[in-house]
Amino acid sequence: MLTDFLQLTVAGLSQGTVYALLAVGLIAVYTVRNVINIAQGDYATLAGFGAIWLVTAGMPLLLAILVAILSVTLVSILVERVIIARVKNMTVLVSLIVTLGVSILLEAAMLILWGPEARSLPKLPGEDLFIGGVSIRSQELWMLGALVVVGGGIVFFYEKTKWGKALRACAEQPVAARIVGISPVMASVVAFGIAGLVGAVAGVVYSPIYLTIWSGGLLLGLKGFVAAVLGGLTSFRAAIVGALLLGMLESYVSAYVASGLRDAVAFFILIAVLIFRTQGLVLTPRQGRA
C-alpha cells in the first residue's frame, strides 16, 4: 500500500512540474501586464513539436531542445510585440480573448505543419531508478530538475536581482516605475520572454513521457492556470507548491476514486478557490497592489 502511495506521489509530482512551469509563465505575464495568457500551454506543445522536428531532421537532441526553447521564447516575445502591445485598452477580458486567438492560431499552425498525430521526443540520457518498489523514470528526474533550475532561477531573478525588482515595480507601481526610469515596454518583453522560456522548457521535458499533440496545449495551460490561481496569481512559490499538489491530487483521485475524474480535479479546485479563498495558498494577507 505504501509503495503504491509513493508511486502515485512520484507520478503526480512529475505531472505537477509541468503545471508548475506553466504557472510560473502565467504569473510572470500577469503580474507585469495584467494579461492572462491562454496560449501559455501552447508554448509547451510548440517547443515539443519544434524539437521533434529538428531531431527528425538530424539535429542532435540537446541542440534541438536548445534551439526549440530559444525559438519559442522568441515566438512569445513576438506575440507580445505584434499583438499584445498593440491592444490599446487591455483589460483582463480583452487579454483572454486575444490570447485565446493566439492559442487557436498556434494550434492550427501546428496541426497543419506537423499533422494530427501525437509524437514524442527521444528521452534525455539517464537510467530509470527502482527504489523499494517505487519506479522513478529518469525523465521524471529531468522534469524535476528543470523545475528546480528554471523555476527556481526565475523566482531568484524576480526576488533577488535588480532587473526582477524593476519588473515587480512595474507591476506594483507602474507610474512610479516609469518616473524612476524603468521602461514598461522592456518589462513586458522580458515577462513574455520568461513565459515563452518556461513554457518551452516544460514542453521539451514532458514530451518523452506524455507525448506532444497539437491540441494538448489548452488543457495543460488551464491546469497551469489553476496552479497560478493557487498562487493568488502573484506568488511564484505558492503557485509551484500548488502545481505539485494538483499533480499529486490528480494522481490519487484517478487511482483511489475514479480515473475519469482526473481532469475534473483541477476545476473543482478552481471553483473552491473562487468561492472560499481567492488568495489561494498564499499565507500572509497580501498588501494591496492596486
Binding site: D4, R119, D128, F267, L270
Partner: protein
C-alpha cells in the same frame, strides 16, 4: 484587501467559464469539400467517409484517409464504375460522437452520398448508425465493437469483432495456465462491454476477471491505474485501447516492474504503438489481422498477394507502411465498390449486394457477409502477434 480580492476574482470567473466552454470544443474540420448536390443514377457516384482525422483517434484516421484517397484515385484512373466517376468526400469527426453525427448528416443530406464509410472508432460509429438507418443509406463502419452492426439492416463493418479478439486472448491465456486477468480498458465505446465479455467467455475457460480499470483515450499518465493493477493478484493483464494511449499504458505498466504478461487488443496493430511504448512494447501479445506480419506468412496464404500489393501501393504513395486501420478502410472501400459494380447505387439494391459479399479476400481477412453477420469475419481472420524488435511478429496463426 477588498480591492485586490475583486481584482483577482474577475479574471478567475472569466477563465473558469472559458475553461468549461473551451475544453469541450476543438477547431473546425479540415477536410470536407462542398460537393455539388444531385446524385442520380447516371451522375457521379458519391461515397462519403467519416474519419477520426484529428483528436484521439488520429493514429487510426490518418492512414484511413490516406488509403481512401489512394483507392479513389486508383478507381478514377481505371475509369470509375460502369463509366460513372466515383467521388470521395471525406469528413473529419474530430474523434467525437457529435462530430460523427453531424458529418454523417451533412454527407447524407447535403452531399447526397450513395454510401457512407466510417467511423474510425466504435463510439462515433454508433453515433452514425441511426442517421444512416433513418435515411436508408448503406453504411460500412471500420471500427471494432459488435454493437455497431448488431441487429442492423443498413450497417456493416470491416474490423474484426471484439468478441473473436477476446476469444483469441482467452484461449492463449488458458493454454498458458493463467486463471486471473486484470483489464484496463478504453473508457469510450471501444472498451464498452469488454469486461462483461471477458467475464462471460472466461467462465467457460476457468478464467476470472479480478479487476477493471478505465482510461480516457486522451490520457497521458497511466501510473495510477497501473499501480492498482500491480496491486491485484492477476496472472496477466489485458490492455484494451488504441494508440497512443494503449502504448503509454503498456509503458507505464512495464515501468512499474511487474513482469507479468500483457495482452493488447487489435487497437494497437500499427507502428504508432511502438512510438508510444518504446522498448516497453516487447513481449506484448495481441490478436490482429495479417497485414503487419505478411512477410512471415507461408507463401500459399490466400491473403498474401492482396496484402503485399496494398503495402507496396501505400508505401509508394505515402512513404510509410499502412496500419491495420488502413486495411479496414481498404476492405470497406473494396466491398462497397464491388457491390456498386454489381447492383448500382439504388440504396436497397446496394445494401443487398453488400450483404451478399462472399469470399472477398481482403486485408483484414476473408469476408463473407450474411443477413445475421454484418461483420463478415470469423476468428480465422486473426492471428496472434507478439511485439519484438520494434515490430509485430507472427506468434501463432
Amino acid at each position: 484587501m477588498k480591492q485586490s480580492r475583486k481584482r483577482i476574482l474577475a479574471p478567475l470567473v472569466l477563465v473558469a467559464s472559458l475553461a468549461m466552454v473551451l475544453t469541450g470544443c476543438g477547431t473546425s474540420n479540415l477536410g470536407g469539400k462542398k460537393a455539388d448536390s444531385g446524385a442520380g443514377n447516371d451522375g457521379p457516384i458519391k461515397i462519403g467517409a467519416v474519419l477520426d482525422i484529428t483528436g484521439v483517434g488520429a493514429s487510426l484516421g490518418v492512414p484511413e484517409q490516406n488509403t481512401l484517397n489512394m483507392l479513389a484515385k486508383q478507381l478514377k484512373d481505371s475509369g470509375g464504375i460502369d463509366g460513372r466517376q466515383v467521388q470521395l468526400i471525406i469528413e473529419d469527426d474530430q474523434s467525437t460522437e457529435d462530430g460523427a453525427a453531424k458529418a454523417t448528416t451533412k454527407l447524407i443530406q447535403g452531399d447526397n452520398v450513395d454510401l457512407v464509410i466510417g467511423a474510425s472508432r466504435t463510439g462515433p460509429s454508433v453515433a452514425m448508425r441511426p442517421i444512416a438507418e433513418a435515411a436508408k443509406i448503406p453504411m460500412i463502419s471500420i471500427a471494432a465493437n459488435a454493437v455497431i452492426v448488431e441487429g442492423s439492416k443498413w450497417v456493416f463493418k470491416t474490423a474484426q469483432n471484439d468478441l473473436v479478439v477476446i476469444q483469441r486472448i482467452l484461449d492463449d491465456a488458458k493454454t498458458k495456465g493463467y486463471t486471473k486477468l486484470a483489464l484496463i480498458r478504453d473508457a469510450t465505446g471501444f472498451g464498452e462491454g469488454v469486461a462483461d465479455t471477458i467475464t462471460k467467455l472466461g467462465a467457460e475457460r476457468g478464467i476470472s476477471l479480478v479487476m477493471t480499470e478505465a482510461f480516457e483515450p486522451s490520457a497521458t499518465d497511466f501510473t495510477p491505474q497501473m499501480t492498482n493493477v500491480r496491486g491485484s493478484n492477476a496472472d496477466a493483464v489485458v490492455i484494451w485501447g488504441i494508440t497512443p494511449s494503449a502504448g503509454l499504458a503498456q509503458k507505464a505498466y512495464v515501468q512499474l516492474g511487474v513482469n507479468k504478461p500483457v495482452y493488447q487488443s487489435h487497437g494497437v496493430a500499427n507502428a504508432a504503438f511502438f512510438d508510444a511504448a518504446g522498448e516497453a512494447a516487447t513481449g506484448a501479445i495481441a490478436p490482429m489481422g495479417r497485414l503487419l506480419v505478411v512477410d512471415q506468412l507461408p507463401k500459399d496464404n490466400p491473403q498474401r498477394d492482396v496484402i503485399e500489393k496494398f503495402k507496396a501501393d501505400y508505401s509508394g504513395a505515402f512513404g510509410d507502411q499502412p496500419s491495420s486501420f488502413a486495411g479496414h478502410a481498404y476492405d470497406a472501400w473494396h466491398i462497397a465498390v464491388a457491390a456498386m459494380k454489381k447492383a448500382g447505387t439504388e440504396p436497397a439494391a446496394l445494401r443487398d449486394a453488400i450483404e451478399q459479399t462472399k469470399d472477398y479476400v481482403g486485408i483484414s481477412g476473408i469476408f463473407t457477409m450474411t443477413a445475421d453477420n454484418h461483420s463478415g469475419l470469423d476468428s480465422s481472420a486473426l492471428i496472434l502477434a507478439d511485439a519484438k524488435d520494434g515490430r509485430w511478429n507472427l506468434y501463432k496463426d
